[in-house]
Amino acid sequence: MAAKGGASNFEKEQMFGMAEKEMEYRVDLFNRLTQTCFEKCIEKRYKEAELNMGENSCIDRCVSKYWQVSLLIPFLFADSFYAYSIA
């Protein structure tokens, strides 16, 4: 990022590749989150079209926990990777 004035093609491609990977990761995270919380929280026999209150609070909790875990694990992974590389 310090050599931004040069605008080399390779750097642009690298950034584009990283952004693409990041986008794929985000989309995959969203899809997994949706599928996990749907299977966990929503009853299979549909009685009405709208979410009732139990399902609503279940989805709130499920999404919150999933998001916390998905933010926590990269930190733990980075820490253990760093400790492993210097040990």
């Binding site: 969203f30 979410l51 139990g54 399902e55």
Partner: protein
């Protein structure tokens, strides 16, 4: 974060389906107002107050009906007009007392069911049973512990039966 993906998915699905048949509409995410409008009904206080008001209305109707039926009219002393006035007053008194009872019942039942369902995060008949027990116990608490237990069990059974009766039609 989530806004690019669903709209892309919706547009993709819309493009695909509109090429096949014009009858299928693309998926439309709810607007903020729609979400807020649905969220109002998720609030326990709002829900219990609305239930209490509906219970009060039901109590008024029941009081009018049964107050009109229940008349020890002393026919010798009063004229027709006085009979009507007496009956009307009796209907009013009875409907107000019924309205209060039913309003309190509806409020407690709805509040208990809402709180239990939010805590358990499940939609079950257990919620109805617990709420019925709390309501029956609260209404019968003046009669002592035994009356409270009987009221709890009775009202829980009644509310589960009503729930199953309405659920069969769904």
């Amino acid at each position: 974060m989530a806004s690019p993906e669903p709209s892309a998915a919706g547009a993709g699905a819309g493009g695909e389906s509109s090429s096949q048949a014009a009858a299928v509409e693309p998926i439309r995410m709810p607007t903020a107002e729609e979400i807020k409008g649905q969220d109002i009904w998720n609030n326990c206080a709002v829900r219990s107050v609305v239930s209490g008001v509906m219970g009060g209305g039901l109590g008024v109707l029941m009081g009018l009906f049964f107050g009109a039926l229940d008349n020890p009219i002393m026919a010798e002393e009063m004229t027709a007009r006085q009979q009507i006035v007496y009956t009307a007053k009796q209907m009013g008194r009875r409907s107000i007392s019924n309205a209060k009872t039913f309003a309190v019942m509806g409020l407690i039942f709805s509040a208990a069911e809402c709180v239990v369902e939010k805590a358990r995060a499940k939609h079950d008949t257990t919620n109805t049973a617990v709420a019925g027990c709390v309501t029956g116990g609260a209404l019968a608490v003046k009669g002592g512990p035994k009356a409270t237990c009987i009221g709890c069990a009775g009202f829980a059974a009644f509310s589960v039966a009503i729930e199953k009766f309405f659920d069969r039609h769904t």
